[in-house]
């Protein structure tokens, strides 16, 4: 007699076989003690397993504790999200601070604004100071004729910006045919710039596209 395969007994137990197969197995089980024994063992085992359904949580406050844990988890998540956001913002800000001055190096408007705001007290921003004997209007006219841009002015000085060529002609017009360096007045500027470890502006300096200078009126 052929015994029923175990998987068929399992399916028979779960009642998922068709009516014909069920009948066959039923009649076989009536005649075969060995298959009957297997089936009974299967039955006992599944009954034992179903007893495990009585496993349950002993803690009464489990649901409330879980809700507390969820709230705590959300609070942590929000905190870390804020921290992460702040960290990213700090990194971006740092990157801007580090790279922005380089990237807008030739953006004169930005540069000028920055320099104008500090120009009165922070003379280091200036490329040079040129003492002149002319009055305010004459100096202003001279600068305008040479396309220099007036950044700031007062009764005693004019801060202007110009390119290399304009600066050169302004300088020559101020000092006549003498070179700027040899002029007594220009020495003041040289001394002043040396004092602050500034290099005297070299007009042929290829990288220096703009000069910012102060005409110190007398």
């Amino acid at each position: 007699m052929n015994h029923i395969p175990i998987y068929k007994l399992s399916e028979f137990y779960d009642d998922i076989l068709d009516a014909h197969e069920k009948e066959e197995i039923k009649s076989h089980l009536d005649q075969c003690p060995e298959c009957q024994k297997h089936f009974e063992q299967l039955h006992t085992m599944v009954n034992l397993l179903s007893c495990l359904q009585t496993i349950s949580l002993k803690r009464e406050s489990f649901a409330l504790d879980t809700i507390q844990k969820i709230k705590k988890h959300h609070a942590h998540k929000r905190y870390y999200a804020t921290m992460r956001g702040s960290f990213i913002a700090a990194i971006i800000l740092l990157a801007i601070i580090t790279f922005l001055p380089e990237s807008i190096k030739h953006d004169t408007s930005f540069e000028n604004i920055a320099k104008i705001s500090n120009s009165q007290n922070d003379q280091l921003k200036l490329d040079c100071i040129i003492p002149v004997t002319m009055d305010f209007n004459t100096a202003l006219l001279l600068l305008q004729q040479n396309n220099a841009r007036i950044l700031h002015s007062s009764e005693s000085y004019i801060i202007a910006e110009s390119d290399v060529n304009s600066f050169s002609s302004i300088r020559q017009m101020i000092n006549g045919s003498d070179s700027y360096r040899k002029n007594i007045l220009s020495d003041v500027a040289v001394n002043h710039t040396n004092k602050y470890n500034k290099h005297y502006p070299q007009l042929t300096h290829a990288n220096k596209k703009k000069y910012i200078f102060r005409l110190q009126l007398r």
């Binding site: 399992s10 009954n47 009585t54 496993i55 844990k69």
Partner: protein, 187 residues
Amino acid sequence: MSEYSDNELIDRVIAGDTNAFTDIVKRYQNKIFRYIYTRVYNYDEACDMTQDVFVITMESLKTFRRESQFSTWLFSIAVNYCKNYRRKHRHKIYSINNADDEMEFQIPDLRQNQEEMAITNESMQILLEELHKLPDDYRDILILRDIEGESYTTIAQMLQLTLANVKVRIHRGREMLKSRLEKRGLI
């Protein structure tokens, strides 16, 4: 226990009513705990893991598309969580004979005659031990089928298996457990 359906409770939770989630937890806590406990066989750890499953469920509740029953979806979260947990803690050695972990079972009298073996707490411990020693795939499927009484189709959805695969695993798992229990003299 709340009289609201799962979907009504979910709607309330999504609308911001956290207390509705308490009802969901109460409804499914034992089912999820049982599944996890039979996997890790440690009461405290199973408690923590059950809580974690509900934390994950709460977080991803908005993604529940209601294509299956909520219980099926919740159980699949538990199954995946346990798999990941097992992977993360694969070096951990579980103590099988930890007296602190012994559970008290409410055992129904299944004896049909006096000769039949009485089911004791001890025999339940043996059963749990042997169930715990089964490979994950077979243990999961026996828990769902023979402890929780889930249908073949639901099991297939929960474990993302084909129906044929579920049938094969159920009979192999039962065969494996039966031979082990036979050796222990339990059946």
